[in-house]
């Protein structure tokens, strides 16, 4: 199957949505625009309460926005100005819930077959198609089970099978992995990515875990407080964040209490607790400059180094594949975390903060 | 087949009734007592089904006037012990004028305007607990009763109808007020005994039988007698000085669907055959003098004398002394004397 990058399978334009009305109205989406191309996997990322689920539900037709438009392929399914709203059941989308929402009174087969039955497909065609999808998802032998007789990971696959079976143009997933065990989750995300790509689906997936978003998607939309904060491919989101919010959200960071001494284009000189450091300006620059660096960019050195500050080691936490070491200045004003392959001995260290990774917003 | 002695053209009514094939009766007499009547009627006139609706007397009234006003299906014959309500319906024009074939055999007071007919002859009795009351103590007149219940032993142990709730009770009591010159003393005696009032005969009988109450006043004799047959605790006295008589009133609905069947039923109830069933099987006391046996007017009159029998007339006059103002005044007085707590 060829992936046609040019067609938009889903277009959302300037969507506004609020809960309640009149005086108690509570705006949740405040003008969200986005699109999803054919064959693309887009992750909708954002902190809890930022409106991710709401946006997904609006696309699915389960919430009524106030303004804006939503198109699925060529079809307009919502138009705020014309007060037109196509009911959810006619939008023909695939939807996977965080809780899976499998119907407990139906077998796995019936759960998956239901969408086809509604489409008036013949019984033997249904059987063939359902078994094909179940096999693709490695569930072929479980068709006669009931949801409660299956493990979480299997239930999740049934939920996906149910959403896929009638070949919807777009499949929407709301935190599909968050109900899984930490260990299972890692496997599942690789599986999910592989499956979506293999079947050539267009997928919009909600998550609040940036690691998951980066691992699974072609493009990330970062939602903050009802608006798209930034979008782009995982690498650009991680390495060239445009706002402090994006920078802080996308990785593990150290925030430094610093004073800006001098600005010169993107080159900034700052002062951290007496130490003079070189840094890079990012974003538009706010009233109060914020200085931060990713934890993994901090290099620990026992000897004096360039563009570094000296701090005593407080404690090291074992993470298995590496150690996370916490450094704290005597007065407690500066906290710095860094990774180390080995456990560090107590003492003072030079923490090198490469100028191009030390960002000033 | 027309019963013997009926006019020749009676057969026409029978034929028409057979064609109607059905008769709807609303009654306040319980179906156990009505059953033998219906059975016998069906034997006499096969082919006419009697649909008997058993209700209490207020329900009979409510249902009948509502249905009559709405113009839908309703009763062909209405038969109830609430004489006042029956007379109200009859005099308000709901009763059809029909002169029964049996009229010559019935007492004059039991008929009104060829519309309403009394069918039974039920005395108001004094009922007492035989186990707990000495034979010597049993009162036989109203005066003895009034004297007896003022003894301390009878405090809280005398019962009668709650005349605010029971139509029959109210009617008996107002009749007492008219018939009994020393009614005020009687009322006071009730007050002294702190009379326990009940809204139905059943509760009264049960409580007298159990000994919770010792003696009951103005209990409908027909029910008391039936009960006394199986319950050795119950004793029944018909006061010798005078005994009030209630008669269940029947009339034919003016808008009856099954007019002929209704006429047959009316005549049957008043006939000797029907009255015999009423007396011997329903135990409701036959009103006809030519029916003999235990529960008949003949027997009753023999027991207490013709002059001491005081029937409530089947006549709109009952409405006069039961009119709203008089009612309220009477109730007020009753509550202040007998009902004082």
């Amino acid at each position: 199957m060829k992936r046609d990058i040019m067609t938009n399978e889903l277009t959302v334009d300037d969507l506004h949505l609020e809960y309640g009305s009149g005086a108690t109205a509570n705006p949740i989406l405040k003008g969200v625009s986005m699109h999803l191309r054919k064959g693309e996997v887009v992750a909708l990322l954002g902190p809890s309460g930022s409106g991710k689920t709401t946006l997904l539900r609006a696309v699915a037709g389960l919430e009524s926005p106030k303004l804006g438009t939503i198109d699925i392929g060529e079809r307009r399914v919502f138009d705020g100005s014309k007060a037109f709203e196509m009911p959810a059941e006619q939008r023909n989308l695939g939807l996977v819930f965080q809780s899976y929402a499998l119907w407990p009174h139906k077998t796995v087969f019936d759960n998956v077959a239901y969408g086809l039955k509604l489409r008036k497909m013949g019984a033997s065609d249904i059987k063939e198609r359902v078994m094909e999808v179940l096999k693709q998802l490695g569930l072929g032998h479980l068709a006669e089970r009931y949801p409660h007789q299956m493990s979480g990971g299997q239930q999740q696959r049934v939920a996906i099978a149910r959403a896929l079976v009638y070949n919807p143009p777009v499949i929407l997933l709301d935190e599909p992995l968050s109900n899984l065990d930490a260990k299972l989750r890692e496997e599942a995300r690789a599986f999910l990515r592989e499956l979506i790509v293999r079947l050539g689906l267009s997928a919009l997936m909600v998550t609040h875990d940036q690691g998951e978003a980066m691992a699974i998607s072609d493009r990330i939309l970062l939602l903050n407080n009802g608006k798209i904060e930034q979008q782009g491919n995982p690498q650009s989101m991680y390495e060239t964040p445009e706002t402090l919010f994006t920078a802080e959200f996308m990785g593990s960071n150290n925030r430094l209490p610093a004073k800006v001494v001098q600005r010169d284009g993107s080159h900034v000189r700052i002062d951290v607790n007496g130490a003079a450091l070189h840094a890079t300006a990012r974003g538009k620059g706010g009233a109060e400059p914020a200085v931060l660096i990713r934890v993994e960019e901090v290099r620990v050195s026992s000897t004096r180094a360039d563009n570094a500050i000296e701090l005593p080691l407080l404690t090291c936490m074992y993470l298995g594949d590496r150690w996370e070491c916490l450094f704290k200045s005597e007065d407690g004003g500066i906290n710095l975390r860094a990774y180390s392959k080995y456990k560090l001995d107590a003492g003072s260290y030079w923490l090198q903060l490469p100028a191009d990774k030390l960002w000033v917003f | 087949q027309a019963p013997a002695g009926y006019p020749a053209d009676y057969q026409k009514i029978i034929d028409a009734a057979k064609k109607e094939g059905k008769l709807v009766v609303y009654g306040a007499t319980d179906s156990k007592a009505t059953h033998p009547l219906i059975k016998d009627f069906s034997a006499l006139y096969p082919g006419i089904t009697v649909e008997y609706n058993d209700m209490n007397s207020t329900e009979v009234y409510n249902r009948f006037i509502s249905e009559a006003a709405a113009g839908g299906n309703t009763a062909d014959v209405v038969w109830s012990s609430a004489m006042d309500l029956q007379m109200r319906l009859a005099s308000d024009g709901h009763a059809m004028k029909y002169k029964s074939v049996e009229v010559p055999k019935l007492p004059a007071w039991s008929m009104w305007d060829d519309k309403a007919y009394g069918t039974t002859f039920e005395p108001a009795a004094i009922v007492y607990n035989k186990r707990l009351l000495d034979a010597k103590e049993v009162p036989h007149t109203h005066a003895e009763f009034a004297a007896l219940i003022q003894q301390p032993k009878f405090k809280d142990k005398v019962t009668t109808y709650d005349i605010e709730k029971s139509g029959v009770g109210f009617m008996f009591m107002t009749q007492d007020a008219r018939e009994y010159p020393k009614f005020l003393e009687l009322e006071n005696a009730f007050g002294v005994a702190k009379v326990r009032v009940q809204s139905s005969t059943g509760t009264m009988m049960e409580r007298i039988s159990s000994g919770e109450n010792l003696i009951g006043y103005n209990v409908l004799g027909s029910y008391a007698l039936v009960r006394a047959k199986t319950d050795p605790s119950i004793g029944v006295v018909l006061p010798k000085d005078y005994t009030l008589i209630l008669s269940r009133v029947v009339f034919i609905n003016k808008a009856a669907k099954n007019v002929n069947a209704a006429k047959l039923w009316l005549d049957y109830m008043l006939s000797q055959r029907g009255q015999t069933v009423i007396a011997n099987e329903s135990k409701l006391y036959a009103i006809r003098a030519d029916v003999t046996g235990e529960t008949t007017s003949a027997d009753l009159i023999k027991q207490i004398g013709k002059d001491n029998v005081k029937p409530v007339p089947v006549h709109p006059i009952v409405l006069q002394f039961l009119g709203p103002e008089k009612r309220m005044a009477f109730l007020k007085q009753w509550k202040e004397t007998a009902g004082k707590k």
């Binding site: 959810a88 006619q90 149910r162 | 186990r131 005969t201 059943g202």
Partner: protein
């Protein structure tokens, strides 16, 4: 691969099934109420030509000291009943659902007895067992020399009414408790709270919404208590509103509908603010009590040293509310007579049962009652489900209005509600007939010739009885079903819509199958209620459609207390057997 298309497309259609359900419900509720309301402002029955519009009825009842007394008593009774039934029902639910109370298994069905035994029969049972010469009283007298209680006092009536309404509260409270995760209770225990403290500080406050609802409902039922007061209140002349209505019938010689209607309107007026208070309570309570359907494990809470105390209290309740009156009834059904100085062994008899078997209408009554309970109950549950579904997850004005409305019919005493239904069935066809005739068109004539007779004939069918029962118990039944509906996760329905199911399909394929057990439970409850109901149906029953409730009243009035006892005994036994079978086959009392 080709996307599979759905049949049909287009805009969101009008939700006409909901429209129909809401309209029919509104008609069923408000037509009788309207008649009562209208009647209260007239001077004579509304169908009489001489009626005049006015406030005479209100003037009369407000002047009547009896009304004031009945009203005061009614208020005391309803308040006292609520104060007894709500805490006890809540505590009972806690004990039964959450703790390791001994004997929970056999107590659960016993709790239902007061729901299906007619209060009149209960009252009679109390008279036989604990009346002044009742056999327990006689024992007590032999032991103590006096009878330590007076069953006829108003206090006793309030207590008995309260205790017999405990199960109503229990049902709501227990289903709320079941849907409440037990983790909050365990948290309290670990913090050091004894079971009693857990109940008082955590469990009951958290099911406040359910308790508030049940409280308002039993308060309404408190105004409606009739049979019990009729039997126990007469001797000392205690008057409450339904018995006052009874009195009004007689007060002016002929039944005075305008006065009865005025009383009913007053009742509705009193209860309306109550419904509002309850709504408001619920709103503020719901705000912070989020009932999580977390079916996490819950091990029965060990009561420890409280165990036998709790069992003792529960047993005392059972003894007083169920065992005492029932033994009274059973005893009465096997003796010829009873009372002071009677040796019961001498008067034992089976005659009453023989009498009943000999009376075909009594047998028919039993059959009819079971039928109206089983089939009518099933149909009622179907209708309640339709209404509950019409309100399900649609938090709009219609739902709110309906939510208020369902409680109102219960505020009207059954006696009058029954009459109002008779009027509806009688006069609505007449009025429609008039309208059709007046319209003078072909359709009008056709309708008046074909539809009207059909409408008229409805009244004499059992359908009329069923409808009246169903409307009067709407609030009770609906709540049972909406509780079940609330437990269906919204995502399960949304998932069906997302795969392309229309509203009807979602309901049929997902929602209803999921509340299967809730529906069965509701059916059982409605069966029990219909089993004992009578006053509402009195005017709608005709020969062939007798039900036990009405027959008991009629037997009672005719003085056959022995048959009342025997018939009740048969009825209770049959229901108990049926109940046992239902429970055995997995019908749950609460979901």
């Amino acid at each position: 691969m080709q996307t599979l298309a759905l049949p049909g497309s287009g805009r969101r259609g009008l939700n006409w099934p909901r429209g129909v359900v809401v309209t029919l419900t509104a008609i069923a509720i408000f037509l009788p109420l309207y008649l009562i309301f209208y009647q209260s402002f007239l001077s004579a029955p509304f169908f009489m030509p001489e009626k005049v519009l006015g406030l005479d009825a209100y003037r009369f009842i407000f002047d009547d000291p009896d009304f004031a007394m009945a009203f005061k008593n009614g208020l005391t009774l309803a308040t006292g009943l609520t104060l007894i039934a709500v805490p006890m029902g809540g505590a009972l639910a806690f004990l039964m659902i959450r703790t390791d109370l001994p004997g929970r298994g056999w107590i659960a069905p016993m709790l239902l007895v007061p729901i299906f035994v007619s209060p009149m029969v209960m009252g009679f049972g109390y008279v036989v067992s604990m009346g002044p010469v009742g056999f327990y009283s006689t024992w007590a007298k032999d032991l103590l020399g006096f009878v330590p209680w007076n069953i006829y006092s108003f206090t006793s009536i309030v207590i008995i009414a309260g205790l017999t309404h405990v199960p109503h509260v229990y049902l709501y409270a227990s289903s709320a408790l079941k849907s409440l995760g037990s983790d909050v209770e365990e948290a309290a225990r670990v913090a050091g709270a004894s079971p009693l403290q857990v109940m008082l500080n955590v469990s009951l406050p958290m099911i406040m919404p359910a308790l508030a609802y049940a409280g308002v409902l039993v308060f309404f039922l408190g105004f409606e208590v009739f049979g019990l007061v009729l039997v126990l209140g007469d001797p000392e002349g205690h008057l409450v509103l339904p018995t006052y209505l009874y009195k009004l019938t007689n007060k002016l010689g002929t039944p005075s509908y305008h006065l009865m209607a005025a009383v009913a309107v007053c009742l509705v007026m009193v209860t309306l603010p109550l419904v509002m208070i309850q709504r408001w309570l619920l709103k503020s309570a719901n705000k912070y009590v989020s009932i999580k359907g977390k079916g996490a494990r819950s091990k029965a809470m060990p009561l420890g040293r409280w165990k036998w105390l709790a069992f003792g209290v529960l047993f005392a309740w059972l003894l007083f509310t169920i065992i005492m009156p029932l033994t009274g009834i059973v005893l009465r059904s096997f003796v010829q007579y009873w009372g002071e100085g009677v040796n019961l062994a001498d008067v034992l008899t089976l005659q009453h049962f023989r009498d009943i078997l000999a009376e075909p209408s009594l047998i028919r009554g039993i059959v009819n009652t079971v039928l109206i309970g089983v089939i009518g109950g099933g149909l009622a549950v179907a209708c309640y489900s339709a209404i509950a579904l019409a309100m399900h997850r649609k938090p709009d004005g219609i739902t709110r209005a309906l939510d208020y409305s369902v409680l109102v019919p219960r505020a009207v005493p059954g006696l009058l509600a029954g009459l109002a239904f008779l009027w509806v069935f009688l006069f609505v066809p007449s009025w429609l007939d008039g309208m059709f005739k007046a319209s003078d068109s072909g359709v009008g004539t056709w309708l008046s010739e074909h539809l009207i007779p059909a409408l008229r004939s409805i009244r004499s069918t059992i359908f009329a009885v069923w409808l009246a029962y169903s409307v009067v118990w709407l609030a009770y039944g609906m709540r049972l079903i909406s509780t079940a509906l609330l437990q269906v996760g919204p995502e399960l329905e949304e998932a069906a819509r997302a795969v392309g199911a229309k509203r009807g399909q979602v309901t049929r394929d997902v929602t209803l199958p999921l509340i299967k057990y809730g529906l069965l439970g509701a059916w059982l409850m409605v069966f029990l209620i219909f089993e004992r109901e009578y006053s509402t149906g009195v005017y709608l029953l005709s020969p062939g459609t007798e039900v036990i409730g009405a027959m008991l009243v009629s037997l009672w009035a005719g003085g056959s207390t022995d048959l009342v006892a025997a018939l009740s005994f048969i009825n209770i036994t049959l229901v108990a057997i049926g109940l046992g079978i239902a429970l055995r086959f997995g019908v749950k009392l609460h979901n």
